[in-house]
């Protein structure tokens, strides 16, 4: 039998990883909710943020925490730019075209990175967050804890922004009914751009935090992309916190089932859970529609 301590450790670790997944998923679901586009390049923006953190650390000696605010700002504008330069052109195209578009974008980013920086795996050297703490019987790195806290805080902020501020409500209105929103004078274009900005910014945050304890390479973003889609599907459409929970649940499944059953197969459990949810609860576990 698995000792209670190992179980607890896997629950905590899983939950923290889930926090990162959730952060990425929230960004993805914002974009999806606004314009019904699945961003196949989402994880690659995560990867870029990881590389940014690595290079800032390597070349400038910056601690990831220092890089963080820069990444947040740059990634916000990168999201907006991506929307204006690329995504806007396929807004009204058939879904196939939208799929290719973000898929192609992801490939472009990944291989540009591969070309520039090769396939070598990098790690960000010891930094403020890599110290391991012991809470009771559980070991966690400060990085993991910080990542979890940050993801919770960021999601809460985004949630408040969406629900409470005027701009946020404009985003809500647009995702629910674009035509009506337009008639009410909301500039859906600006709203869409903002949605992309915030979505990519979340992913950037996730990347910086992740880089403090996770290996960095050109394919690093892809598993997070995949998990993000799964989290969005599991969490349900139209439910922000559902998506967040979806991410946490996936982290838990991966961590707990992985430790308890078979570590090498941990992602398999996630994928199986995904397919089960899609079949039996296509609206997601917490979805409204």
């Amino acid at each position: 039998m698995i000792s209670g301590q190992i179980l607890l450790q896997s629950v905590i670790s899983g939950m923290f990883m889930g926090g990162i997944y959730a952060l990425v998923a929230v960004g993805l679901s914002l974009i999806f909710g606004l314009m019904d586009i699945v961003n196949f390049a989402h994880g690659d923006y995560l990867m870029l943020a990881m590389f940014a953190t690595f290079w800032a650390n390597r070349l400038l000696g910056w601690d990831p925490l220092l890089t963080l605010p820069f990444v947040l700002v740059i990634w916000y504008f990168a999201g907006q730019a991506t929307y204006r330069l690329v995504i806007r052109r396929v807004l009204n195209a058939p879904m196939v075209a939208q799929m290719f578009c973000t898929f192609g974008l992801g490939i472009f980013i990944r291989y540009a990175v591969y070309f520039l920086w090769s396939a070598d795996v990098r790690k960000v050297s010891d930094n403020l967050l890599s110290e391991v703490m012991q809470v009771g019987t559980v070991f966690i790195t400060r990085a993991e804890a910080a990542a979890f806290a940050a993801s919770l805080a960021a999601t809460a902020l985004v949630f408040l922004f969406i629900k409470r501020t005027r701009l946020g409500k404009a985003i809500q209105a647009t995702s629910q009914n674009k035509a009506a929103a337009m008639e009410m004078g909301i500039y859906t274009d600006k709203v869409n751009a903002m949605g992309w900005g915030i979505g990519i910014m979340c992913v950037g945050l996730g990347g910086v935090l992740l880089a403090t304890y996770y290996p960095v390479h050109y394919y690093a973003g892809w598993p997070f992309s995949l998990v993000a889609y799964i989290a969005v599907a599991m969490g349900g459409f139209g439910s922000f916190w559902g998506v967040y929970l979806g991410g946490i649940i996936i982290g838990l499944i991966e961590g707990v089932l992985g430790t308890v059953l078979m570590p090498t197969y941990k992602m398999v459990f996630v994928y199986i859970a995904f397919i089960l949810v899609l079949i039996y609860r296509p609206k997601g576990l917490f979805g409204k529609f």
Partner: protein, 339 residues
């Protein structure tokens, strides 16, 4: 009268192309160009197979490499463990792949567009992880195929020529099949399903069955290509077969060339494969992956401007020329009237 002349020209054109293809290895006897053409033809086969489900019915799968893997592994394991010729090994491969396709299709076809694609990626990852850890298939070590002399029976040769003709034959058969299917009842049903599946169902057609049929055919063809791939490369392992890049390469030809058309994957191959090679020679060793950067850009460009791919572009050009001609013709006529 004009129509039959056009058909004769088309037929001559096709025969000329086939003739060139047959003569190709004699025009370019070096192994490198032959290798390129072998890859090109293999991607045409894979692309056409994908096209049957994805292009025609609109159900976009990013998991066809699963069938490639099943084909490669099945025939190889029959060879290595039971001493059975890979030609025979193709048959159990097709059976396994067809069952897999039926299972995947039945479970996943209800999923909307992007979710079907993501589910197929998920399945591919599941199988990757399983193969990586399963002793029965030699886990991450994979299998090496021993060279059995220049043998048709064992499908191994020391030079590329026989491989070339083999894949050429397969490619021609597949293209001919897709051409026939395009005009067949199934082709029409699939295109209608792609356009408006609900409407098709309301006309009494059980769309599930036809999509499954398309999927099984697609899987079977991909499986055969898998056996060829194994025999050509002589080494298979989960890493080389089940990675996402392979998935990408399978779909990129029909995507860029034109989904749901017979010529699409062929045009796509003719553009993309030489382009990749040219870039590779241009940039030498440092150019690894550059062609993929370009692929990414091309995919985006196509998505943004002409999702129907090269075929779509050609059709647009034809339509504009037709309109210009007919306007000119009408003007001519009215000139005469006035005169």
């Amino acid at each position: 009268m004009k129509e039959s002349a056009a058909t004769i020209y088309k037929l001559l054109g096709v025969l000329a192309v086939i003739g060139l293809l047959i003569l190709f290895p004699h025009i370019f006897p070096k192994p490198f160009p032959q290798h390129i053409m072998i890859l090109l033809l293999m991607y045409v086969v894979l692309g056409q197979a994908w096209n049957i489900l994805g292009g025609y019915s609109g159900q976009l799968s990013l998991g066809n490499q699963i069938f490639l893997t099943l084909g490669a592994y099945t025939s190889t394991m029959f060879l290595v463990k039971l001493g059975v010729s890979p030609w025979l090994g193709i048959l159990p491969g097709i059976v396994i792949s067809s069952l897999a396709a039926l299972a995947i299709g039945t479970i996943c076809f209800n999923l909307k567009g992007h979710y079907f694609a993501i589910a197929t990626i998920g399945l591919s990852e599941i199988i990757f992880i399983i193969f990586l850890n399963w002793e029965f298939v030699n886990s991450s070590y994979g299998f090496q195929i021993r060279f059995a002399g220049n043998s048709l029976l064992w499908m191994t040769w020391s030079h590329k020529l026989p491989y070339y003709y083999l894949i050429l034959l397969l490619a021609l058969l597949v293209v001919a099949f897709v051409w026939k299917m395009d005009r067949s009842t199934l082709g029409i049903y699939l295109r209608a399903i792609k356009e408006d599946e609900v409407r098709v169902k309301s006309l009494g057609i059980d769309t599930r069955k036809y999509k499954l049929l398309a999927f099984v055919i697609s899987a079977a063809i991909t499986t055969i290509a898998g056996t060829f791939y194994a025999q050509y490369v002589m080494y298979i392992d989960p890493d080389s077969l089940l990675n996402l890049d392979f998935a990408l390469l399978i779909i990129i030809l029909p995507l860029v060339g034109g989904m749901g058309t017979v010529l699409g994957p062929i045009l796509g191959a003719c553009l993309l494969v030489p382009l990749a090679e040219y870039l590779r020679t241009l940039l030498g060793g440092g150019g690894r992956g550059v062609h993929l950067i370009l692929y990414g850009l091309i995919i985006m460009a196509i998505a943004v401007s002409q999702p129907r791919g090269l075929i779509g572009i050609i059709q647009e050009v034809q339509r504009r020329r037709f309109r210009r001609n007919s306007v000119a013709g009408a003007e001519e006529e009215s000139d005469h009237e006035v005169a």
